[in-house]
Symmetry: C2
Subunit: 350 residues, 2 copies
């Protein structure tokens, strides 16, 4: 497997070595070969030196890669977030047509749950987020800039092509699971053009999946139910923005966003897919080697699964579970292990 390794910014650099440690342990145990290409761009340091986040030939440099293993991007002290993200992560998602952002949410044994009385098994669902269009655009502009009359317009753009394929992916996932249940996030009562349309696309695609039960919920009450009734959820499909919110909120209800992994998938495999923790660069804790490496490691497991190594995926998730139960644990989990210690423990289990 040809993997581009991009640590990026902040704690991305601290958790990446642990991700690689575990990937290498898995490659020894399961006998597959990893060909790693280490890349220092797609980081704000690189931006400061070069005035852009990535070299002009970034696509050529990633040609032939099976996947990108990505730490985190963003260092607002030197580069505004919308510049760094639009110049790296969001560019990958779009130009490599990674139209599914898959984010599992699961309460592990050994992790104190912030929701009262919930046990492992009570929270176990997948957020499927549209990843290439929707609310995330740089279309629009400002009129009368700098005056009292200033007005800003921001466009949300959705296409049948873009909505249907991610809805279909979510329906397929739901169909493959025992409960066969899909929740569709919407806000058609307030956002009057795009969201009623999104609902109608969900209805249209649903016709091909009579075996899947569908429940449409407005994003406000849906967020409330992630807290009040997490057991309701199996697969949740959402637009780009709503998926972003739900996939931070969901992991928060399982104890810490330091656990949450994600796969930015190009299911057709025409382009490399990208695997990254949900947590971001976390400038506030960077440099102390205290970040939780689990999200990075679990993202590596998702990558192996996507590339056909399901057994390696399962073994890594099991090793993570064992370490979450027995320690060592980083601070966000109430322990005092370092990033390195926790990574080493997971690799050792493997």
């Amino acid at each position: 497997m040809k993997i581009a390794v991009i640590p990026g910014d902040g704690i991305g650099r601290e958790v990446m070595p642990e991700g690689l440690r575990v990937l290498e342990a898995a490659s020894r145990r399961f006998g597959f070969e990893l060909q790693l290409t280490h890349i220092d761009w797609a980081s704000c340091d690189w931006y400061v030196k070069h005035g852009q986040m990535m070299p002009d030939d970034w696509k050529a440099q990633l040609e032939g890669m099976d996947a990108i293993y990505f730490g985190a991007a963003g260092w607002p002290a030197t580069v505004p977030d919308h510049v760094s993200l639009w110049g790296s992560l969001l560019k990958f998602r779009r130009e490599f047509d990674q139209y599914v952002n898959l984010r599992p949410v699961r309460l592990f044994d050994g992790v104190p749950c912030p929701l009262a009385g919930r046990r492992p098994g009570d929270i176990d669902y997948l957020v499927v987020r549209e990843n290439t269009e929707g609310e995330y655009t740089n279309l629009g502009g400002v009129m009368y800039a700098g005056t009292e009359r200033e007005i800003v317009v921001q466009e949300t753009v959705m296409s049948r092509f873009g909505a249907d394929r991610v809805l279909r992916h979510a329906f397929e996932l739901a169909r493959s699971r025992p409960r066969k249940h899909l929740t569709v996030a919407t806000k058609s009562n307030g956002i009057a053009i795009s969201m009623p349309w999104w609902d109608s696309r969900a209805d249209a695609v649903a016709r091909d999946y009579p075996d899947v039960t569908v429940d449409k919920q407005h994003i406000d009450i849906l967020s409330a139910r992630f807290v009040l009734e997490p057991g309701r959820f199996d697969v949740v499909v959402a637009s780009n923005l709503f998926g972003d919110i739900l996939s931070d909120l969901g992991p928060a209800t399982t104890g810490t966003i330091g656990l949450a992994p994600s796969g930015n998938l190009n299911p057709d495999r025409k382009f490399p897919s990208l695997f990254e923790p949900v947590h971001g660069s976390a400038p506030d804790i960077y440099g102390r080697n205290i970040a939780n490496p689990v999200a990075m490691i679990w993202s590596g497991a998702l990558m192996l699964d996507f590339l056909g190594q399901r057994a390696a995926h399962d073994a890594i998730v099991e090793a993570i579970e064992q370490v979450l139960v027995n320690g060592p644990r980083t601070r966000d989990l109430g322990g005092n292990a370092s990033t390195t210690e926790m990574g080493e423990a997971i690799a050792a289990k493997l």
Copy 2:
């Protein structure tokens, strides 16, 4: 005080009598006069008969009112939500320029908290939501409708006028509270035009409030922190959509959205303000007299406060607290009292 009483749809009709019962008890105790005008429009039943949610002269009918006491709108079985809401609630908010949506979030004694280990006092903040522009628009449209090439565009519109006044209101509120802390919800790393602009307006207004500490947070991590670190928050200001999400999520962390009140304020008092529960019409539980009336009653207290009756507000909130501790309680709180019983108990305390 001249109050228009609009029960609307679903459980709005069940909780309204309890809201009025408590308002009348307060008027007896505090010696102010209530002049109530009962209105059956702004409901889906009315729509079914008249083909629109409100009569053409709705504004004239509400002329001279001090406030609107509103139950809930929406009955998707007969009228699509975007039709019923845009034809009633959202119209009031806009045409009466109720530009501040104020939504207190508070963990009460006696209410089991879904967050582990949190006690009354640990969760106590205000969500200030922009209520007249932003993501809620019916601007945009569909191209190539009904074909494979279908594309939909939805416009978000913000103005300096609209953003600054709600930011200023939030800063004033923060300044009036002991902690003087304001959280600004944003998503400037993904939504590339409107949100960086919103951040810049927050920075500009902040210059007039050096005594208020400001913390900008992206909506994804902010939602996570409502669950993980609710004690961080004092006043939270957000755009229309983000405020909608946060003001359902916040109340969920305090046990039930059946408690959450809101004031749709026209602070200048040129137009009537509107007070309503956050919960909506809840078709799934309508008709059984089991809805929690607290949000309706608490909204009434906010209305009295807004109209200058602070002592009455405080007494109602205290009566609510006592009943939450001692019962009777509706089912969402683990009891088995009816809507009526809980309303009567609160009125009796008063």
